[in-house]
Amino acid sequence: MVGVNNVLEVKELSKHYPTPRGPLPILTDVSLVLHRGDSASIVGPSGSGKSTLLYILGALDPPTSGVVTLDGDNPFALAERELATFRNTRVGFVFQDHLLLPQCTVLENVLVPTLVTDTDPGATERARGLLEQVGLTERIDHRPAELSGGERQRVALARALIREPLLLLCDEPTGNLDQGSADAVSSLLFGLHKAQQTILVVVTHNELLADRCETRYRLNEQHLDTVRR
């Protein structure tokens, strides 16, 4: 998908949560720029706000201040309906807990994001293709309860890419997996990222996964520091 500028840009982003005792700062003056094809990892101690930053990048949580633009659009300036379309078409999200719908099959889970568009011809073909790429062709009609943790995460990965998003966000994608499964998922993740040339942002504790990303950020005391570029 070719956009306007294919850039993710974050400028002086801050986030705090209101509490009865006053605002609790999570992020302060976070800035970054990533281009299509870039991959970045965000590491930091637990509770440092990594997932918070990821959800803001995915337009799931608004910042308290600062600007986020993807492909020239600030999602938080959009109306609710446009924001939903933005999430649907521009962002793919892989959650730590995979969050598959237990009542749907593997194929149906991958197709979930396509149901809210008017027409998406070839969606089923793409879904089958993605499942083939993640090695789950044989499990296409199975339900999540019948899959292992690694298999579920692979389905979640396929789902995140069904709409060929520009931005692919992963929140601890291998956090609940054993090393073997984690490696497999990591390989698939980067393989698909390269194939679709997404902007990949990964929040992880896994050093191996973090090392595979071109850029490494560290969140420390509400600030985002660039460790390696």
Binding site: P20, Y55, G58, L60, D61, P62, E80, R81, L83, A84, T85, F86, R87, N88, T89, F93, F95, D97, L99, L101, P102, Q103, C104, L107, E108, L111, V112, P113, T114, L115, V116, T124, R159, R163
Partner: protein
Amino acid sequence: MSLRSLIRSDVTHFWQTNLAVVAGVGVAVAVLAGALLVGASVRGSLRALAVERLGAVDMVVTSLNFVPEERADALIAAAPDRLSFGDALPLIAVEGFVTHQSSGRRASAVQVYGVDERFWQFHGVESSDLSLERNGVFVSPGLARELEAAADDALLVRVAMPSAVPISSLHGRKDDLGRTLRLTVQRVLVPEEQGEFSFRPQQGLARSVFVSLTRLQQEIEQEGRVNTFLLSEPSTAMVEGDQAERLAAAEDALREVATLDDIGLEVRDLPDRGVFSLEAAAGLVNDATADAVQSTAARLGLGVEPVMTYLANEIRHGDLVTPYSLVAGLDLELVTTRDPMTDADQEFIPVVLNQWAADDLAAAPGDDLELVYHLWEDEGRLVTRETTLRVIDVVPIEGAAADPALAPDYPGITEATDLVSWDPPFEFDLGLIRPKDEDYWDEYGTTPKVFLSLEAAQRLWASRWGALTSVRLRPEGDVVTEADRFRTELGVTIDPLAVGFVVYPARALALESSSGATDFGLYFIYFSFFLVVSALLLASLFFRLGVEQRLAQIGLLRATGYPPSAIWRLFTIEALVLATVGGLVGVAGAVGYAEFIMWGLRTWWVGAVGTTRLSLHVAPEWLLVGAGGGVAAAVGSITWTLRSLIPVPPRSLLAGVVPEVASPVTRAGISRATSISVACSLVGMMLVGVAAADLMSATAGFFGGGLLLLAAMLAGAWAWLHAASHRTTRDPWSVSQIGFRNATSRPGRSVLCIALIASATFIIVAVDAFHRAGGGDPLDPTSGTGGYTLLADTLLPIAHDLSTPAGRDALFLTDLYDPGEPLAGVNLSRFRVRPGEDASCLNLYQAKDPRILAPTDAFVAEARFSFASSLAETDAEVANPWLLLDRVFDDGAIPAIADATSLAYALHLKVGDDFLLNRDTDRPIRLRIVAALVDSIFQRELLIGETAFQRVFPDYDGYRFFLADAAPEQTGVVSAALEDRLADFGFDVVSASDRLASFHQVENTYLATFQTLGGLGLALGTLGLGAVLLRNVLERRRELALLRAVGYNAGHLSLMVVAENAFLLGAGLVAGTVCALVAIAPAWLERGGGLPILSLSVLLVSVVVVGFVASLAATLVAVRSPLLAALRTE
């Protein structure tokens, strides 16, 4: 994959939670549609019962006088072909009193039908066993059960002896008014044999006997005559007009066939006198008939000579006395040429004596005579009056002065062969009769001895029955020919429907009445209201719980680009699917619920309906309405729970954080809720206060104030719970405090549980406090019994005044009033009665023609009973609203008093409203409700003033309803004495308290029904409470596992769950009970301030026990959940 398949998979995958939602909706729809079915079933049952009891009857023609049976055929012949009747059946229908001879069991107000084989032919019943013997009787099943009568038992059936002469006139018989037939029960009829026949709708058992028409006619001396005609519907092919047209056609046919004889008039030809005379069987020609005669005579060019003849006891001239002589009032110019000297200022009445009288009294013109005569006063007294006569002329007994036809037929007198054979209905001193009097009688018969002016005669003897005994008409042509012409012309002038005939559209009125005085459908919706609300709240609760289970999924959908509207649509469709399935289940359940209610009405709650003949009628349209309403309400309440999800950020949804936590209520929100609570409290208390000050109805104050107070408490609970969720404590905690704190972690759920328990408790407590115990203080004159301990109805009217020695003497009661005897010191208040339908809640049919009572002035003056409201304006009326019965309205409306309960629930009227009697005729009687009695024994009838009663219901003579204020310990003796001595009148005594209690039974049964269904609502509420507790425990499995890991034992965990349950249950009970008691304060203070403490306590304890049982499941899960598995669970 499509949205449809996603919805389908959602519905099926989460089937457990969805099943609970479906069940909740199913219950709500079942109850709502079921309540509507109950209404339809009651209406359908009443309609079926009325139609079954009517048989083939379409219309009924009744007459106050007995008319020849042949009128039946004449009616059919007179009706136009296109609106012909199928058949017309003559029969006798009268009220009777039946005694089972061997056991002495008695039944009053029994319908006695004099019939023959034509009766069953009319109804199309074929049976060879339906041939009534002369001495036989068929009995209805209800009466047979009441009397425990069987075949071959002997019954004494007493009926009124018809008499055209009013009993309140001098010549009206006041005793021996009935006839008793001793009959043998041939069989007890079954309904298929018209054993339940009745042409007036009633849901109670039909209490009737069928006797031989011929036998009955002979006993009451009405051979070949009947008082009722049943008209059947014509065949469908012949019917063209609607009911109103057919009724009009029947009335026109009646006008055509009714003769003067049928309406109690006779035209006697007197060709020798050159006149014909119109006379009435009643002895007096009433004013309306006299006017009709005058107008007809004028049209025909006839001379009119009105006559008023009277029987004088004595005519005295000094020591000379002529006894028992007829005195004629007429135009004195007919008998004398002397100047009548009719000066109104004169103190004497000028009279003309015939020669015989003059000789007997040695009187001559200019002499003064004393005339002594009896008068019967309406109050029930025979009085003797005297007046002075002055002889102006003495005439020979010839010409106009020798006319025995001037006297009407006097029963017991005219037909006598001699004076000593006279049998007048008043005291007659045979000792006064001399041989010369017998000679006069032999020679001259009823020839008057004295003549006075008509005006003078009318001044002395005119009554409400009339001022003439005959009207003579003098034609110019042939008397016989002119008399025939006059008969025809008068028959057109006088409408038989105005003088005793009624055409009653029995079938149409029965169908109309069967819509019921009480809308059971609506009542059961009220009764089931909280059950429906509880079910809907439960359905919403379970749906909400199901949605909360899927918060992360919702977050995922939002994260993948589903706009809020798509989420909303998804869950709304899911709610619609579940509600629709629940609706279908509910429709099936509605039939079951309605059948349960109908069964209850036939058994436990039969006191409210008085019949076991109610059955389920499944009406698809009501099922549809109920299902539609229930489904709509369910979708609404379910989707209402979703609205709080929309503003929650997707991030929070993904984390599974519920809206209450993700978007905590701010202090401003808590303040707002507190303000709402305060406002609702103030308005609620204001409503209660206004109701207490009698500025609005107690019912409105109760419901409005109570609900507002309840809403205030719930809003307050909501605010408190949200505020509590922010609190911390520095004090050492107890385990139970953890339980209480748990209740504040999910304020929405907790308030929902409190609301469920509180609303059901509110209803149960309030309803229980309204139960009426007993029949009121029997001696309190302001109570519902008015201080009377006994009340009685009679079959035959009693004309004598029982408060006078003469009246008691006439009825052989004198000895019972002696000191120490049963009636000593007992006052009897008496009422005139026009029979009609029961206007109380005991009658399920709408009373179109209620019973009318008229009290005497003596009763009115006592100012007994209490009034809920009235149109009183003066101080006297305020002190005694009974005086309103004498108010005069410009529009001619007649003031009426009724019981407030009957007005509200049976007649649907209030003070100031009008009730129209005879509304389908051109002679409606407008009654205006001027006062409403509080919970009285008069719930079956309306009461009007005695003067008005005598004017509009002149044919209902004498007194037939009595109230006695016997001492409570004497009621048995008094009842027995009265029933024994007045058995001939069918005197039937019951306890006034028992009568009042029977009315209370209806109200208490409705309240019991309300409570039962409220109890079911409470059961659902506790089920919901249990479900919430279980859900809370399941959600906190990891916390509970942690507590166990750090040393909490099963007892500690149980205490936590129980504490949370106790908090929610207690809050609900307290809120519901307090609000109910405060809100019903005006009503229960009015009843004396007493509360049924015991039953209320039992109820509340039961609720607590059930509530704790409901938490058992939650406690068991908390205690027995596997420790490690819970600790490891994500």
